[in-house]
Symmetry: C2
Subunit: 461 residues, 2 copies
Amino acid sequence: MVINIENILSEISEDTQLNLDILNDFLKIKSISTIPEYANECMKAAEWLKNYLTEINLDTIIYESEGHPIVYSEYKSQKAASKTLLFYGHYDVQPVDPISLWNSDPFEPTISEIDGEKCIVARGASDDKGQLLTFLIALKYFFKNYGELPFSLKIILEGEEECGSKTLPIFLKDYEDKLSADIAYVCDTGMWNKNTPAITRSLRGLLSEEVEIIGPNRDLHSGEYGGVAWNPIRLLSEIISKIYSTDGKIMIPGFYDGVSEVQENVKTSWSQLEFNQTDYLNKIGQITSSGENDRTIFEKTWSRPTFEINGIYGGYTDEGTKTVIPSSASAKITCRLVGKQDPKKILDNIHSFIKSNVPEGIKVNFKGSDYCKAIEFDTDSEFFSVSSEAIKEEWGKAPVYTGGGGSIPVVEVFKTQLNMDTVLVGFALDDDRIHSPNEKYNLSSYVGGIRTWARIFSKFV
Amino acid sequence: MVINIENILSEISEDTQLNLDILNDFLKIKSISTIPEYANECMKAAEWLKNYLTEINLDTIIYESEGHPIVYSEYKSQKAASKTLLFYGHYDVQPVDPISLWNSDPFEPTISEIDGEKCIVARGASDDKGQLLTFLIALKYFFKNYGELPFSLKIILEGEEECGSKTLPIFLKDYEDKLSADIAYVCDTGMWNKNTPAITRSLRGLLSEEVEIIGPNRDLHSGEYGGVAWNPIRLLSEIISKIYSTDGKIMIPGFYDGVSEVQENVKTSWSQLEFNQTDYLNKIGQITSSGENDRTIFEKTWSRPTFEINGIYGGYTDEGTKTVIPSSASAKITCRLVGKQDPKKILDNIHSFIKSNVPEGIKVNFKGSDYCKAIEFDTDSEFFSVSSEAIKEEWGKAPVYTGGGGSIPVVEVFKTQLNMDTVLVGFALDDDRIHSPNEKYNLSSYVGGIRTWARIFSKFV
């Protein structure tokens, strides 16, 4: 099989509008996985993918368990010695609230120009619908021109990445025999900046929990019971404030066990990255940065663990005043984990820490937790070199090996359950506003992404 | 005018079902003043009152300004030497949330038996619809039996007590010339317990404010920006925790300026009240009490100022997890004030305290504040003695002079704007769940209340 990559690349560039129409169609589906009311939209997204994959020539099924379905495709190369790739992406998206901050309907994709760059604005544009399509669309050109792929392929597209991936381990167990591959590819990460590609070499783990503090046994009138009743909002606030030291350390006992310093050569490569801290903070409306005082921004976001409160609620929150002492107050917590931090142990320590910081008789409920460990890859392997080379050809410079601040739980599962490494290649940009209002994906990311995958594929001939 | 009070009292007892039907009818009106959507229900309640008062023979008008209307009645005694009373009540009620905790529709009054006592369950049953009707219904028997009252009377029934009483000062200014009276009566307070009546001799003031902390300029992904972005929930929690010392003192500078110790004789009378602290705390589901460690429950709720968070919100609060660092977090605050505390000064100090406790570049918004001063009455006056005597006849023991934990802003306005003292006589009980789900008013409060007012009225012959 001889591949004319230049021919494929010019076809991709010519087809820009056609491929945008495909993305546009996909983005209209409201596949919000965390809100039960959108379950049928998740199914719609799965069916849309199945149709697309079947059309380009891949055997595809929809796998169903209790949660949102998984779309699974297989392709067997005729050539005995060919490599087997496993690709993973997720078709589910984050909720859209606060809806009032969107400039257009999150599910009516709009082409805008932001800072001189054309981009498509919609929920999921970057995370992960736009990104996963770069891979799937690149495949099309190989079938179209050669009727085959130069490698064997397995594709897993899940619909629960944003809500805990409950179905995935069941699927992986069910399909264990079919899933062996040489390497996994995931397209859910970013570039260093719009001119500098990146491969993510490590990912922080994630731990989530919700805590509810119960003070009085019912809502009370603050005039009658103020000064006597334990206000759960105050108690919850005091707990949260005790979690952080004044210099930004997390005070949960044992929190930093298993956290090691990054190697000197990695630190050096980070120090050489083009980076303006003032601009970086400015972009998010800040003058100073939070977190550990003695750490750089790269350390804080790539190699250090975090403890964040993602939501808080309690008492009267509508318009006006209500002189109430609420019965309960709740906070939603997530921690980013690194190195060898043990999520189970940390969760236990969080529970004990919170329980030991409430007065006698005050109840504490934990509403369900979930976690995955942090992960690091060996960047010396064949697949990292091949990918790095293809990326360099497309973007004119070698990708930087960055750390990932976010968590992609599937990568840990591939490692522990299938014993498989993952190459994380993605084309998202820092200002894509993923999980925020007005999420977008640059056209340069989309078209450059499709071209990059075509180049990577052509290396496996 | 010779009044046969025993005759009136037996009529009242015979009419229990009739008078309950009147209350029932009034409670069905959803006059929630804090939520703009219920404005027409507030008007409905005002019209209901006007009809009732007109029917019993009082000249009544509906006064309208920008907010919810005020119902105003006048009655001029033919006897030159008669006293003039001014009565105040409010027909508006608190919101009903959380609706899921109600055992019946808050606006479909239900008769229940709680701890062996018959009571009527509905929003406003105790605060203040049931209470104000005790006064208005007692009047009926005087007109019915004698065609007149033994005193002159002015009645003000407002619809904004639960939302800041904006219309009232405008009305008082407009009607200044008409409102002169010897004393004001308000029925919006409680008994010591179901067998022990009370007159409230002091009221705490109220200060309300809402604070919003703005961290990043938009919601951020906690994987990308966790450990770097200032999480406004953390910052707000830290501010709240700094407000309270470990021994329960409020740490806002100058907060206790103008707070004096209660007189020894009042302290002594409090120490003689039948009171079981364990039971009291048990009833609200607590083992210990919050607030200043070195103060009794009576001091904490009657003579000491408080600082409460009535509501808190920020970030993702729906089902499941969203790995977001929110742009903002908000808290609704109210303080109860006592003695000579200066609300304006305290508010300024709260603003400075909060602003000085956020990192550089973090924005703080205050969303609008409101306040009224604390107040104390001279219990040696004629009207306190007359009322006390009538109350003793009805309940078999003299009323205790208690402190009021809550605030009734109108009482301060009567003092400062009309230079008039107020006798606070009410029949609510501690377990009436006012401002909470399943608010109720005991039949013994309702009927005993009507009888008490009839006895008070008969003293003015």
